[in-house]
Symmetry: C2
Subunit: 310 residues, 2 copies
C-alpha cells in the first residue's frame, strides 16, 4: 500500500440550473469562470484541511482541458491562490480519469517521502465546448471543480492499495475536441469548421467499446489486486452517461454500492470522480477504514481503477 | 536512487532551415506535422532499443502543447504507432521542463516495479504559434521531437539520483499562449485579438527572474542531493535562449561542461532537453557510469533539475 490519507476536500459547480426532462445540469453563470470554480474548490479544501496554500508541497492540476496552452494550469491556478513562496506545479492528463491517474502516480512520491502534502485539482468547463447539434452530449455535461488534499499517512492505515489504467486506441477518435492546439490552430476557425472546435462524441460507439472492454478490465483488476468488487465498501465511478446503471449491472454491482448522480449532476469530465468523492465524504457515505474504488472511462479510450483505504 | 536506465532514444526536427544572423532554426516544411515528427522520434527510439511499441508498459507525452484538447496526446500518438493491444497513456506538463518532470515522476513507479519499460515523448511545434511582431521569440524557436525509452535497471547501476522542481508564480504571465482553451475559446478569434492565440514572452523580465532565482535553486539542489555541480560529468540544460552561456557563467559552470546548441538548434520548448540528451548520447559525450544533470527553466516560472547516473 502507498500510505496517504485525505485531509481536506472542496468542490464548486455551475450556478445556473438547466433541466432536460428529469436531468439537472449545472452550468456557469456570468459571474463564474473556470478560475472562480477552481479557486472556490481549492479554498474549501484548504479550509477543511486547516491548511494554507503555503503548506502544500506539490500542486497537481488533473483535468482534460486547461486554462491556457502555456503555461501549465497548475501554475496558473497557484498564482490565483497567492502563495508566499515557490511550490512545485504540474499537470497530469488522461481526460476524464485524470484525477485517478494523478492520485495513483503521486501516491508513489508521497509514500517515498518526496512530498508530504499534495493538492490535486480537477476543474472543467464543458459548457464552453458542447455542440447544440449533438443532443446527447449537449444534455449530458455540467461545469464543476473538485479539490482533494492528501498527506502521507505515517500510521500506514490509509492509502492507495492498487491502481491500474489502460488505453485502447481503437476508441481514440470517438470522443474528441479536435481544434484549439497544434492539429488545428485557432487561426483556422471559420463558420464552416466551427464544430471542429467543439466536443464531438460518437456515444453508441463509445458505449459498445466500453461494454466490451470493461468486464476484462475488472477481471484483471480483481486478479492483480487480490481483491474482489465485493470487498469494496463504495464504488465512485465517473458519471460518464445515463448508461452508468447498465454498465454497473453488467459488472454485477448493485444499486446503493456506487455513487450514481448522473441525473442530478451530469458529467463534469475529469471533475466528476473527485466531485463524487467529495460528496461521498460530505454525506458520510464513507468513513475511515472503508475501502473505495475510483473507477472510470475516458476519451482515448481509457479505463482506470484505483482501490484506496480511506 | 530510483533504478532505471535509458535503453533507446530517437529524435526528429523541422526540415526547413531558417537563418537569423548566425542562428540556425529548424522548422516544419509542408510534408511535416507535429505527428510526423513525433512518430519519427518514437520509431527511432524503438529501433535503437530493439523494441516494438507493444513492449512498452506506459506511454508518457511530456510537452507543453498537445495535438488536441481531447483526448490526451499520449493516446493520440499511441494510435499512430498501431499497438496490438492496450497500453496505459498519460500526459505530463510543466511546459519547457515537462521531460524532466515526467522522468522524475515515473522513476518512482519504475523503481517500485509498477512499470518496467516506459516511453517518454516530448514534441513541440513552436512555429505554429510564434508572433512575427516579437522578434526575440520569433527568431528563437525550432520545431522538434525527442523520445526516450527507459527500463528498470535490475543491476542498480543506473538511475535517477535526485530531482527537484519549483514554480515561482510571479513569472506566470511573462511567458504565455493565452488563447485556445478555456480562458479564451477559439470561437472568439478575430483579426484584432489574434495575438492572444500566439506565443507572448517578456524576455527581459523572464531573464531577470531566472537570474535572481537560479542561484538559490542550484544551492538547494546541491545541498539536498549531497552533490556539487563539480560531480556532474555533463549538464544538459534547456536551450532557453541566447543568454544560456551568461546563466551558466553566473553559476560557475565552464564551457564544455554543458550542452550549448542554441545557435544551431534554437529552443524546442519541451523537446529541447530530451533532444540535447539524445544528441549527447549519439555523439558519445556521455557514457555508462557518467552522472548528468538535466536542468531548465519553464513558463510558470518553473526551475527543474534532475541528476541521473547513465
Amino acid at each position: 500500500m502507498k500510505n496517504l490519507r485525505i485531509i481536506g476536500y472542496g468542490k464548486d459547480k455551475g450556478n445556473k440550473i438547466i433541466r432536460f426532462d428529469n436531468n439537472i445540469r449545472h452550468r456557469m453563470d456570468d459571474t463564474q469562470s473556470h478560475y472562480t470554480m477552481s479557486v472556490n474548490a481549492v479554498e474549501k479544501a484548504l479550509l477543511s484541511a486547516e491548511c494554507a496554500i503555503d503548506d502544500m508541497d506539490l500542486i497537481v492540476y488533473a483535468s482534460a482541458v486547461g486554462y491556457q496552452p502555456i503555461p501549465c494550469s497548475a501554475a496558473l491556478i497557484l498564482d490565483k491562490l497567492e502563495p508566499s513562496g515557490p511550490i512545485p506545479c504540474m499537470d497530469i492528463n488522461t481526460t476524464c480519469t485524470s484525477f485517478i491517474t494523478a492520485l495513483d502516480t503521486i501516491s508513489y512520491m508521497v509514500h517515498e517521502g518526496r512530498y508530504n502534502r499534495v493538492l490535486i485539482l480537477s476543474a472543467e468547463t464543458a459548457s464552453l465546448g458542447i455542440n447544440p447539434e449533438q443532443k446527447e452530449s449537449y444534455e449530458l455535461f455540467s461545469d464543476g471543480a473538485a479539490a482533494v488534499i492528501v498527506e502521507k499517512d505515517e500510521s500506514a492505515e490509509s492509502g492507495v492499495m492498487f491502481g491500474v489504467w489502460k488505453t485502447w486506441t481503437q476508441g481514440v477518435h470517438d470522443t474528441e475536441i479536435r481544434g484549439g492546439l497544434s492539429s488545428l490552430h485557432p487561426r483556422h476557425y471559420t463558420e464552416e469548421n466551427k464544430n471542429e472546435y467543439l466536443f464531438d462524441m460518437n456515444g453508441p460507439k463509445v458505449l459498445r467499446l466500453v461494454a466490451k472492454k470493461i468486464p476484462e478490465f475488472v477481471e484483471q483488476l480483481e486478479k492483480e489486486s487480490g481483491m474482489s468488487l465485493g470487498d469494496i465498501d463504495l464504488i465512485i465511478p465517473h458519471q460518464a452517461s445515463r448508461a452508468l446503471p447498465l454498465i454497473m449491472e453488467k459488472l454485477g454491482i448493485k444499486e446503493g454500492k456506487y455513487m450514481n448522480h448522473v441525473e442530478d449532476y451530469g458529467n463534469m469530465i475529469a471533475a466528476s470522480i473527485p466531485y463524487m468523492l467529495c460528496l461521498a465524504l460530505e454525506e458520510k457515505r464513507i468513513k475511515k477504514g472503508n475501502t473505495i474504488l475510483l473507477f472510470g472511462t475516458a476519451a482515448g479510450m481509457t479505463i482506470s481503477g484505483l482501490i484506496m483505504r480511506i
